[in-house]
Symmetry: C2
């Protein structure tokens, strides 16, 4: 399996044709998977926001005040407003906002970025990353994974995850298969789109690399079942239930 980033990718602007940018830079093969940083999907879709265009409501103002009191740092209530608008539901509101995005992904500040956004204050995540992946998949003919970099419980730091995918299942389903000794497997559902996103992030990086597109060549999904069930629903997510029941002591 080989991974490489596409080079000489321009600054992406609203309306840009991402499939054409890719096709101009690589002859994709049938066994390739294309990983795309959500940043450029959002830019192509015009998902920028300027804070001057935002009016904070009561809830956003209350959240920003509380975060200001906790952290001792100025918090813009208009930013909290945008996070609320991008969220189905809040999982935690202090000491940082953890929420479920419209498409079911749980992340800090609804995944809104301030880096690598030249022409506006904020860049929202794509409205429907799987829809975006589907369009790119149709145009390019290979599986597409839309990635973001985000944190996770229990561990420091961040890593690449999939937020949308098309042309392949999200997970390899190992149920019904056996281990080396014919016993049932403990691990049954392997989130390969997350593993692909993590791998591609090793090349995309977080800074000024200019490498939002990474091709994974000769990844072998293998002869397994597949599943597209990546984001847990509330009823099925005890950790989220525990967090929503909890109140930050401060």
């Amino acid at each position: 399996m080989e991974l490489f980033a596409l080079s000489d990718v321009p600054e992406v602007r609203e309306g840009d044709d991402l499939a054409a940018i890719v096709e101009d830079r690589v002859d994709l093969r049938a066994d390739d998977v294309l990983c795309v940083a959500s940043t450029v999907v959002s830019k192509a879709d015009g998902r920028t926001v300027n804070l001057d265009d935002v009016t904070a409501g009561d809830r956003a103002r209350a959240i920003a005040e509380r975060l200001e009191a906790i952290t001792g740092e100025a918090k813009d209530p208009r930013f909290a407003q945008v996070v609320l608008e991008e969220s189905n539901d809040l999982v935690m509101e202090a000491p940082f906002i953890l929420s479920e995005t419209r498409f079911g992904h749980i992340t800090v500040n609804a995944g809104i970025d301030r880096s690598n956004v030249p022409e506006a204050d904020l860049l929202l995540l794509p409205e429907d990353p799987t829809g975006s992946a589907e369009r790119l998949h149709e145009e390019l003919g290979v599986p597409v994974v839309v990635t973001d970099t985000c944190g996770r419980p229990f561990r420091h730091g961040q890593r690449g995850v999939a937020i949308g995918w098309a042309g392949m299942p999200a997970s390899r389903d190992w149920r019904g298969e056996t281990d080396r000794d014919g016993r049932e497997l403990g691990v049954t559902v392997e989130s390969v789109v997350d593993e692909l996103a993590a791998a591609s992030n090793l090349l995309a990086g977080e800074g000024d690399g200019g490498t939002p597109f990474v091709v994974v060549r000769e990844f072998d999904f293998g002869d397994h079942g597949g599943s597209d069930n990546l984001f847990r629903e509330y009823d099925d997510d005890l950790i989220r239930q525990a967090l929503q029941a909890w109140e930050f002591p401060g």
Copy 2:
């Protein structure tokens, strides 16, 4: 960047020399990273347990009874006993046991496996995966990442993560670097060992593949700071605090 699994790896037994198994199968290069599934590290270290040798204490019996009542499935109190012995601290005890292993990793059932373990009932995680990685790194001369497959909050399924590493920092520290427009970065600490573990899991798989060793060739860490701070401490982990404060309603 290229990844390949070593082939013709034998069944690993207590006392086996993993470095020799690797060296017999590949000429490692200076820019390689070796990812090793923890299963074979544990096997070489003899970390197997037979339930007949375990006596469950009161706490393990209480936990197993509760889990039996909740799930309607028989639960062996001796298994709960082993999980307790492998744990520094429990994060949740129902409806499944989530705990911190001795070396700081939070995972279900202390990461104890029943798959790919021919000669015993259970396989524990390595006692000190970073120590194991250090020994392999000294013998092989390349960075080593010890991996496991485990679940995570908010998402279905499991994926590869690092539980030990040596010869390279756990994370790329992007602090002080800037984005394409000279602005400060939002993502500052990228857990590259987790990203490498996820990538290698795409080739190692969960079943009878027999491929616990994956070489990552030409991964470029780049000119960044590094950090080895991967597992959050209790005081620094709000999600864990919230979970420990929570009581499963059932």
